[in-house]
Symmetry: C2
Subunit: 235 residues, 2 copies
């Protein structure tokens, strides 16, 4: 249960860093919203920066993203970035690493509960994916991982080791249990549990790339898929 960067407080990025030269008169304090609270201050700054980084990286890609932009968006000076992250690379990697696990946690919880039917398990998974990723800014993170992954071998390895190599067996476990109860249509599905999540990836890409031309009916897509995988009342 890692933080999962949330790009919500976009507003703070507005010109906060330039009021430096303009003496505001009686204002004794710095203009930044984070004035003191030494305790949470550092964590908050860090979050600001990661949040801005997500926005800029997902808009520009890793190479084209400029640290000046990230700093401006976070409302800090460029030098400050280096107080929190070693380099552009490290900032990028930490951004993706910290966002990694929420979906995995969800999957693990479903797999741990044997009372959930196969159909339900699949529907819940896809539904969570839709609500929490496809329909939020988190989808940019997935695209970032997919597109920049090859140039960050350590990152790809991390994802495989920490997420996928665990998620696939969990998925298989769910499917096996369901299969024993006769809830699964094809035995072969046990050999390729990845099929369960395939439409999730496809939906994500469609929305991200072509959503502006034609929205995909993600809910119907996922429901149809779940219905096809499992036995039980169709539509």
């Amino acid at each position: 249960m890692p933080p999962a960067i949330e790009p919500k407080d976009r507003a703070t990025s507005a010109g906060s860093s330039k009021a430096k030269k303009a003496p505001d008169g009686p204002t004794p304090k710095r203009n930044g919203s984070a004035a003191r609270a030494p305790a949470g201050r550092k964590a908050q700054r860090r979050h600001q920066i990661l949040s801005a980084a997500l926005a800029v990286f997902s808009e520009q890609g890793f190479a084209a993203a400029r640290l000046d932009d990230i700093a401006a968006r976070a409302g800090v000076a460029k030098g400050t970035l280096y107080l929190y992250f070693e380099s552009k690379e490290m900032l990028f990697e930490e951004l993706l690493r910290e966002a990694a696990t929420p979906m995995y946690g969800r999957l693990a919880r479903i797999a741990a509960d044997p009372r959930i039917s196969g159909r339900d398990a699949i529907k819940r998974l896809l539904d969570a994916f839709r609500r929490e990723i496809v329909e939020t800014d988190a989808r940019h993170l997935v695209r970032l991982l997919l597109s920049e992954g090859p140039r960050f071998p350590a990152l790809t390895a991390f994802y495989y080791r920490e997420i996928l190599s665990r998620a696939v067996p969990l998925l298989r476990q769910i499917l096996e249990r369901a299969h024993e109860r006769g809830e699964i249509r094809s035995r072969k599905l046990l050999e390729v549990p990845q099929l369960v999540m395939a439409p999730a990836l496809a939906a994500l890409m469609w929305e991200d790339m072509f959503g502006r031309f034609e929205q995909l009916d993600v809910e119907t897509l996922f429901n149809t898929h779940a219905d096809l995988l499992t036995t039980g009342e169709d539509q």
Copy 2:
């Protein structure tokens, strides 16, 4: 100094001067163009460059790719690139544009033949996708489109307009025909034809990102999917 990778096909240029592009009959004299290269030369160079560009762009991404590297890989000088393409952007766009159509053609041919059963149509499509894209270098192109798409709006628009907005109806047409024959399991599939190709995308990404850790059984994945979508002998 440039090692001049290879003198290329100097030999072939001798002798027959077939560089006849103007079929104006037996032109006695030709003002201009004294040292015109052989007919295929230009196309060949272009292909060399595009080929090198694919390799470098898919390894580095658009922004990080260096034209010096592309030139070196193609065995030409950097300046030569500009004789064939206007800019780095144009080179990139043309690379992706030219790669677009083969799969669409395949789909169109299948859709045009009503004798093919729904199950067969889907299997053929997925099979072609596997053999021609997932298992070749072309898979990098899809990742490139995905990752750089947002920064090349014209390219995304091109793909939607020329490929997707035509492919989805074709797919729907195949599914409708199949549905009338009772070959399709769920009517709802007609609302989201994208589901047919979803595993193709997923397989491609898996292989590209994580294939080095764990190969995906793409054939089983596709067959299972096709079996689940259609009626007919499962096994």
